[in-house]
């Protein structure tokens, strides 16, 4: 595999819960991200899947340095991003950019497309001299498949898919090496999703980008990702290549998640293993002891309540899985 470009070690983010009017006491911690480690290689796409509240968006913010972690490290090309002086940090952050989920709220309605896509150049003026900027912005619009003549239009004059392209153009402006995509297609209609995914794919080949692709839609992640990490309640529970996760999942949560995904083929109705989880995801303010999934798990035993399982390769799992009873199970036999 190619070199590691982004390294995350034991990243933790706890949000304090406060109560009271004047003297706000801290009465607890929301453990949004609780000890996540991952490696991103150059040119690869790492998919992160999980349900709402599992901490995947907080993880994106931490990687972008939009939130300060409680502890842990994010190393970009070997340097700890969080402990650099502000000037270095600013220069380094150029290389990691974000594409946000909602193309309706992530673009300022009072700015023209040209201003939105060109704003990164205002913040990092040494990237493009002023007189070149308009031309550069038009080039970027062309790259993402928008008409460069629309540079003076406002976001509301574009459709959802086109707005997402504007967001992608903005992320590309500073020629980053890593792009964190936080649910980039989930707000789009099916017929538009495919267009945006193709664009992301094509940009990756063209600019040798590395993606961290966060989504809740497992089929979308499978299509685009080289490796996949599954998150549950702030922890990574299973990591592997796409086949490891989709064909040979060993963590019960991954299996349940796969079994819950509706397959767009009525003939598999009968052939699907049905694993139905009970109840909802517990509150991250008060996660279960030991393994966090044990309250909804059909395999749970005493050890699960006392000992948190480590994310590691096990005799019964060829790829890292955080379950004491990891066991391969093919859930979806379609194809």
């Amino acid at each position: 595999m190619s070199e590691v470009i982004l390294e995350v070690r034991d990243l933790v983010k706890h949000f304090p819960i406060r109560q009271g009017v004047l003297f706000k006491r801290v009465i607890g911690q929301i453990k949004a991200v609780d000890g996540v480690s991952l490696d991103l290689h150059k040119g690869e796409t790492l998919g992160i899947v999980g349900e709402s509240g599992c901490g995947k968006s907080t993880l994106a913010k931490l990687l972008m340095n939009l939130e300060k972690p409680t502890s842990g490290e994010v190393r970009y090309q070997g340097r700890d991003v969080l402990r650099l002086n502000p000037a270095d940090q600013r220069r380094l952050r150029r290389n990691i950019q974000l594409v946000m989920q909602d193309p309706y709220t992530s673009l300022n309605p009072r700015m023209t497309v040209g201003d939105i896509v060109g704003e990164p150049f205002d913040i990092h003026p040494d990237v493009a001299p002023k007189r070149d900027r308009r031309r550069k912005v038009q080039e970027l619009l062309d790259v993402v498949g928008l008409n460069p003549e629309h540079i003076n239009r406002y976001p509301h004059q574009f459709s959802g898919g086109q707005r997402q392209r504007i967001g992608i153009a903005r992320a590309l402006a500073l020629k980053p090496e890593v792009i964190v995509c936080d649910e980039p297609v989930s707000a789009l209609d099916v017929s538009i999703q495919a267009q945006v995914m193709n664009l992301l794919d094509q940009l990756q080949n063209e600019f040798n980008l590395s993606y961290i692709f966060i989504a809740h839609d497992l089929s979308v992640v499978r299509h685009i990702a080289d490796r996949v990490g599954v998150m549950y309640l702030g922890k990574m529970v299973e990591v592997g290549t796409d086949d490891d996760i989709y064909v040979r999942p060993t963590h019960p949560y991954t299996q349940a998640l796969l079994s819950a995904v509706p397959v767009p083929d009525p003939t598999v109705r009968q052939h699907k293993a049905v694993i139905r989880l009970e109840g909802d995801v517990p509150s991250p303010a008060n996660p279960p002891s030991g393994c966090r999934f044990r309250t909804r798990c059909w395999k749970a035993q005493e050890i699960c309540a006392t000992e948190p399982p480590l994310l590691q390769i096990r005799p019964t799992s060829g790829h890292p899985s955080a379950c004491h009873f990891a066991q391969e199970k093919d859930v979806v036999h379609a194809g």
Binding site: N198, L257, P262, G279
Partner: protein, 345 residues
């Protein structure tokens, strides 16, 4: 809660004549009169649902699938929305020509609806128990205590744990999945014959979505209800639907039995939609896309509304609007080349 209706077909209307289907929408036209012009949101939609079956209405945003449901329920905002033509017959009686009071009786008892966003559909200042019991007090003349008793039974039915104590909770104290269960309980309260579920699981996580879809299927089966499931999710449809109606720009472009539709789509839009899904065997390859954008309803393209995005489009498509052509059985497709598509291997 135990009275299970026996499937009877054909349904008899009030006057004793055969009334065809339980709920039948025919040639419905709805337009929105806005400042920018008239948006033709629904342009001649016809579909029906019978007791015990699930009809899925599939379409992207702006296809008119939700507006059709709102029109059936009589909750279309007027203005800007106006019904300009068509009929909606429930047990043979046209809801659109009915008096207000009569129509109110159908709502909840005849046809009930589950909305997408339970948090905004429930009243935040009343407890869940109060809101469910209110139905029984207003419509069944029950006492407050009896109303609460029935509300407990309903929450039990939709599998909300500790139903009795949760009656005193407010909507915000429920999780997304539990809130959706409360909505389903309310819709079932007056024992409707048709349940319209408008994107009931779109806001939910997949594991919770699976629970809710199972619950809806179970209730539909037990009570022999007709269900109209409105969704954009091709996966959910494949899992639960008996029949599917695909909508595009306010028209039904294809209708078929679920296996037939996925097995051999006979409209280029359905075909392209299924084609654009990420598939196992196409990993790493470019996904097929549908070029262009869904049409602006203020300016629907001439002829077939899909022709600017269609791979099969020929001259005739931009001039002549294709009729919904029957292809045998419950199958129909609104394409000039429907028979060609139907005849292919």
């Amino acid at each position: 809660m135990s009275d299970i209706k026996v499937k009877t077909a054909p349904v008899l209307g009030v006057d004793g004549r055969s009334a065809g289907h339980l709920l039948e929408i025919e040639n419905l036209h709805v337009e929105f009169r806005t400042r920018d012009g008239v948006a033709k949101v629904i342009n001649g939609v016809s579909y029906h649902v019978d007791a015990g079956e699930t009809l899925a209405v599939l379409g992207e945003s702006g296809s008119g699938k939700s507006v059709t449901a709102q029109t059936i329920m009589g909750i279309l905002d007027t203005p800007p929305g106006f019904v300009t033509n068509g009929s909606i017959r429930f047990r043979g009686k046209d809801l659109l020509t009915m008096g207000k009071d009569e129509r109110r009786l159908v709502r909840g008892e005849g046809i009930a609806m589950v909305f997408q966003d339970a948090l905004s559909a429930l009243n935040p200042v009343f407890t869940v128990g109060f809101q469910i019991a209110e139905l029984f007090r207003k419509r069944r003349g029950m006492s407050r205590a009896d109303g609460y008793k029935r509300a407990t039974e309903l929450l039990d039915l939709v599998k909300i744990p500790a139903a009795k104590t949760r009656l005193k909770d407010y909507p915000h104290q429920f999780s997304g999945g539990m809130r959706q269960r409360v909505m389903i309980a309310m819709a079932l309260a007056l024992d409707p014959e048709v349940l319209i579920a408008d994107e009931p699981t779109t806001a939910l996580d997949v594991t919770v979505q699976a629970q809710i879809m199972d619950l809806l299927a179970e209730i539909r089966r037990d009570r022999n209800m007709g269900m109209i499931l409105i969704t954009h999710d091709l996966g959910v449809v494949a899992d639960v639907a008996d029949r599917i109606a695909v909508m595009y720009a306010g028209r039904i472009v294809e209708q078929a039995d679920v296996h037939a539709l996925y097995g051999k789509p006979c409209h280029p839009y359905t075909l392209a939609l299924l084609d654009s899904l990420p598939r196992l065997d196409l990993k790493g390859q470019e996904l097929n896309t549908i070029k262009g954008l869904p049409p602006n309803l203020l300016r629907i393209p001439s002829g077939c509304a899909f022709h600017p995005r269609c791979r099969m489009a020929r001259d005739i498509c931009s001039t002549q609007r294709p009729a919904l052509l029957e292809l045998g059985g419950v199958r129909s497709s609104a394409c000039h080349f429907a028979e060609e598509l139907y005849g292919r291997e």
